[in-house]
C-alpha cells in the first residue's frame, strides 16, 4: 500500500472524500513552491499532486501554463520535482507526481520509478500517457510498488474506461469536463455522469474528479459523488496573484476552505 492508498482509505473510513491539491514545482522558485506544498498539507489536503513543469502542456489551461512556463525557463526538472516529493512526504502528506510523459522518458522510466519510490512518492499521474503506450511504466511501477493514475474523460467509451481502470492503481482520474485545466464557475453534470459510469464498470477503484473545482462549495458538491476532489488552477491562481509568503498563506487558506467543503459532505 502506498501513502496515497492509505490516505484515500483513511478518508473513506471517515466517510468523506479525499482532498487532492495540485501545485507545479518551481513557481515562483523551487523553495517557495515546496513551502506552498507544505501549506497544502497543513491546510488539510490528504494528497499533494506535485506538478512537474513541462514545455508543452497540452492539457493545461492559461493559469497553470503561466506558472509552469517560468519554471521551465529556469531549468526546473524532475530532480526538483523529486525534492518536492520528499518534502511533502516529510510533512506527512501523500505525494503523487503529475508529469507529461517526455520528461519521464528522458529521465529514464525505470530510474524515475526507483527515485520516486526512494523519495517517498506514491505514484504518477500521466495526462498524456494512455495505458496503450505505457508498457515500460506499467513494469517499472510494478517493480517499485508505485501507483499509476491514468485519466478517463466524458468521451471515453465503456471499453476504454474498463481497460484504463484495469491498468490504474491508486485512483482513476476523472476529467470532469471536456477541456483543459482551469477554474470554472460551475461543475457540470458531466462529472457526476462520468463517475457513475466508472463505478458501474469498475467498482473497485477510487474515482477522483478534477478540472474546474475552485472553491469550498464546488468541492463539497463534487465530494458528494466522488472519492476525491482534485483542485489545481484555483490554488495556482493564489501563487500567481502573490508569488511569495502571502501567496503561500493564500494557498493554505484555500486548502482549509476546500477541506471544510469536502468534510461537510459526509456520505
Amino acid at each position: 500500500m502506498t501513502a496515497l492508498s492509505d490516505a484515500l482509505a483513511k478518508a473513506r473510513a471517515e466517510d468523506r472524500a479525499a482532498l487532492i491539491g495540485y501545485l507545479p514545482v518551481g513557481y515562483p522558485s523551487v523553495e517557495v513552491s515546496i513551502e506552498a506544498m507544505r501549506a497544502l498539507v497543513a491546510g488539510g489536503c490528504d494528497v499533494v499532486e506535485v506538478g512537474a513543469p513541462y514545455s508543452d502542456p497540452v492539457m493545461d489551461g492559461p493559469t497553470i501554463q503561466a506558472a509552469a512556463e517560468p519554471a521551465v525557463r529556469a531549468g526546473v526538472g524532475l530532480r526538483d520535482t523529486l525534492r518536492a516529493v520528499s518534502a511533502v512526504a516529510d510533512a506527512g502528506g501523500a505525494a503523487v507526481v503529475m508529469s507529461y510523459w517526455n520528461p519521464v522518458e528522458h529521465y529514464g522510466v525505470a530510474r524515475f520509478a526507483a527515485d520516486l519510490a526512494a523519495a517517498g512518492g506514491s505514484g504518477l499521474v500521466t495526462p498524456d500517457l494512455i495505458p496503450d503506450e505505457a508498457g515500460d511504466w506499467l513494469a517499472a511501477s510494478d517493480a517499485h510498488g508505485l501507483d499509476r493514475v491514468f485519466l478517463v474523460a466524458p468521451s471515453s467509451t465503456d471499453a476504454r474506461i474498463a481497460s484504463t481502470a484495469r491498468a490504474s492503481r491508486g485512483f482513476l482520474y476523472a476529467a470532469a469536463v471536456m477541456g483543459v485545466t482551469g477554474a470554472r464557475d460551475a461543475v457540470g453534470d458531466a462529472a457526476a455522469v462520468l463517475v457513475r459510469r466508472v463505478r458501474a464498470i469498475a467498482p473497485q477503484i477510487p474515482v477522483c474528479v478534477g478540472l474546474g473545482v475552485s472553491d469550498g462549495a464546488q468541492a463539497a458538491q463534487v465530494a458528494s459523488f466522488a472519492d476525491g476532489v482534485i483542485v489545481g488552477s484555483a490554488l495556482v491562481r493564489r501563487m500567481l496573484d502573490s508569488p511569495d509568503a502571502a501567496g503561500v498563506a493564500g494557498v493554505r487558506a484555500l486548502a482549509e476552505e476546500l477541506a471544510a467543503g469536502v468534510a461537510s459532505r459526509r456520505r
Binding site: 513541462y54 514545455s55 492539457m59 524532475l78 498524456d128 496503450d132 485519466l151
Partner: protein, 412 residues
C-alpha cells in the same frame, strides 16, 4: 491497410502497425479525452481510403481544383551549379494555394465532411497549411480556426491576410516560443475542448496515429506522379530524391513511392539554421534525440530535463523541434539519410534558382535545392554519367518575398 513496406534483413516490415508504430516510433501519446475522436478518425480514414467513391471525389478535386498532376521541370541552368547533375523539379509550387499542403488538406476536409463535423482547426507555421485549410474549408462550407504563433503571424503577414480573406479565424498564439510548436499545443487544447464538433486537420506527418499514416497517404501522390514522370522523361529512376524536412510531409509524399526502389537514395534536408554547432537550428534528426512530442515518439530537440528546445530557422515552415515518426524510422533503418542545410546555404540556393530558372522557391524548398547542389557535386565526382536528382519543390516563394528582400538587402 498497410501498403508501404520497408525491407530490412530480408524481411518485409510493414509500417506503421495497426497501432500506428513505426518500430519504436509513432504511437499515441495523447490525453484520453482525444482517444475516442482519433479512433473514429482512424476508422473513417481506413474506410474512405478503401472506398472508390471517396477516392474518386478526392482525385477529381486534385485534378480540377488543385491542378494535378503537377509538372516535372528540368532545371539545366541550375544543374550547371550542381556539378552538371540533371536536376528535375517536382512542381508542388504550382498547386492551387502554392504548396504541397493542399493535397493533404483536401483529403482531410473531405474526411471531416464524411464524419459529419462542421468545424475544422489547424496549426500553421509559414501559413501554407493554414491557407490550404482555410481554402478547403471555404470550398466545403466548414468553419475554420487556424492557430499560428504570434512570431509567425508577423513573419508571414501575407498568409494571415489570405486566411482571413478566405473566411478563417486566425488566432495568434502567445504562449511558449510563439511559433509552430506552440500553435500545435493551442490547437490540441481547442480539440480537447471541442472534439464533439471539431476535426483537427493536422498539417504534417507528425502527431498521434493516424496522422502520420493519413497525411503520408494523402501526400504520396507527389512521389507516385514523379516516379512515373521521371521514368517517362529519363527512361530510368532517379539516383537521388531530395526534399526538405520540417515535420516532413512533402518528404514523405515524394519518398513513399520510391521506398521499395532500393537503388534510389532518399535524402531529407533539415533546417540547419545558424549551424548545428551553434545550437540555433531546427535539424531534429541531425541534432536531436528520441523522445515524445505532440502525440508521437520520434526525434526531437530537447534539453537535459526533456523540455522541448526552441528551434531556429529562417524558414517558418521548417522551424519545428520535432519530426514525423516515419522519418525517424527511415533514418534508423538507413533507408533515408538526413542532412542539415544552413540558412545561408538555403538562401544562396533560393537566389540561384530564381536567377537561373525563373522560379522563386519557398525558403523551405530552398533547403532541398541547396542539398541537391551538394549531392550533384558529390555524385558527379563518383559517377561516369551525370546523376539524376529529383527535388521536391514543395512550395513557391511569394510568401517569402519580404524575408528574402530583407536578407539580400533588396529595397522594394
Amino acid at each position: 491497410m498497410v501498403d508501404v513496406s520497408a525491407v530490412r534483413d530480408g524481411r518485409q516490415l510493414a509500417v506503421p502497425d495497426e497501432t500506428g508504430h513505426f518500430g519504436s516510433y509513432g504511437g499515441r501519446f495523447v490525453p484520453e479525452a482525444l482517444v475516442a475522436a482519433i479512433d473514429e478518425l482512424t476508422e473513417a480514414f481506413h474506410q474512405t481510403w478503401d472506398d472508390p467513391s471517396f477516392r474518386g471525389e478526392l482525385a477529381r478535386l486534385l485534378r480540377d481544383y488543385t491542378g494535378r498532376p503537377s509538372a516535372l521541370t528540368d532545371a539545366p541552368r541550375f544543374g550547371e551549379h550542381a556539378g552538371g547533375a540533371r536536376i528535375l523539379l517536382k512542381r508542388e509550387d504550382l498547386n492551387h494555394t502554392g504548396s504541397h499542403k493542399i493535397n493533404n488538406v483536401l483529403g482531410q476536409a473531405l474526411l471531416t465532411r464524411h464524419i459529419g463535423k462542421k468545424r475544422v482547426i489547424a496549426e500553421t507555421g509559414a501559413g501554407q497549411h493554414g491557407v490550404a485549410t482555410a481554402t478547403a474549408a471555404a470550398l466545403m462550407g466548414l468553419d475554420c480556426t487556424v492557430y499560428m504563433g504570434e512570431q509567425d503571424t508577423r513573419r508571414q503577414a501575407l498568409n494571415v491576410a489570405r486566411m482571413r480573406l478566405l473566411g478563417a479565424e486566425v488566432v495568434p498564439v502567445t504562449t511558449g516560443s510563439r511559433t509552430l510548436k506552440d500553435a500545435i499545443n493551442e490547437a490540441m487544447r481547442d480539440w480537447v475542448a471541442n472534439v464533439g464538433t471539431t476535426n483537427y486537420v493536422f498539417g504534417t506527418v507528425a502527431g498521434p496515429h493516424p496522422f502520420p499514416l493519413m497525411v503520408r497517404q494523402y501526400q504520396r501522390v507527389i512521389g507516385e506522379e514523379a516516379r512515373a514522370q521521371v521514368l517517362e522523361r529519363v527512361g530510368r529512376l532517379p539516383d537521388v530524391v531530395a526534399a526538405c524536412v520540417g515535420g516532413g510531409s512533402n518528404a514523405m509524399g515524394i519518398f513513399t513511392a520510391f521506398i521499395p526502389d532500393r537503388g534510389v537514395r532518399l535524402v531529407g534536408f533539415e533546417a540547419g539554421g545558424d549551424g548545428i554547432g551553434t545550437g540555433r537550428h531546427a535539424a531534429t534528426i541531425t541534432g536531436g534525440s528520441p523522445g515524445v512530442l505532440h502525440g508521437a515518439r520520434s526525434y526531437l530537440l530537447q534539453d537535459e530535463n526533456g523540455q522541448t528546445i526552441e528551434s531556429h530557422s529562417i524558414s517558418a515552415g521548417l522551424d519545428y523541434p520535432g519530426v514525423g515518426p516515419e522519418h525517424a524510422w527511415l533514418h534508423d533503418t538507413g533507408r533515408a539519410e538526413y542532412r542539415p542545410i544552413t540558412d545561408a546555404e538555403a538562401m544562396a540556393a533560393f537566389a540561384l534558382l530564381s536567377r537561373t530558372e525563373g522560379i522563386i522557391p519557398a525558403i523551405e524548398s530552398a533547403h532541398a535545392l541547396a542539398g541537391a547542389l551538394d549531392l550533384g557535386r558529390e555524385l558527379g565526382a563518383q559517377m561516369s554519367q551525370p546523376p539524376v536528382i529529383l527535388v521536391c519543390l514543395s512550395g513557391r516563394g511569394d510568401k517569402d518575398v519580404e524575408t528574402a528582400s530583407r536578407y539580400f538587402g533588396i529595397s522594394s
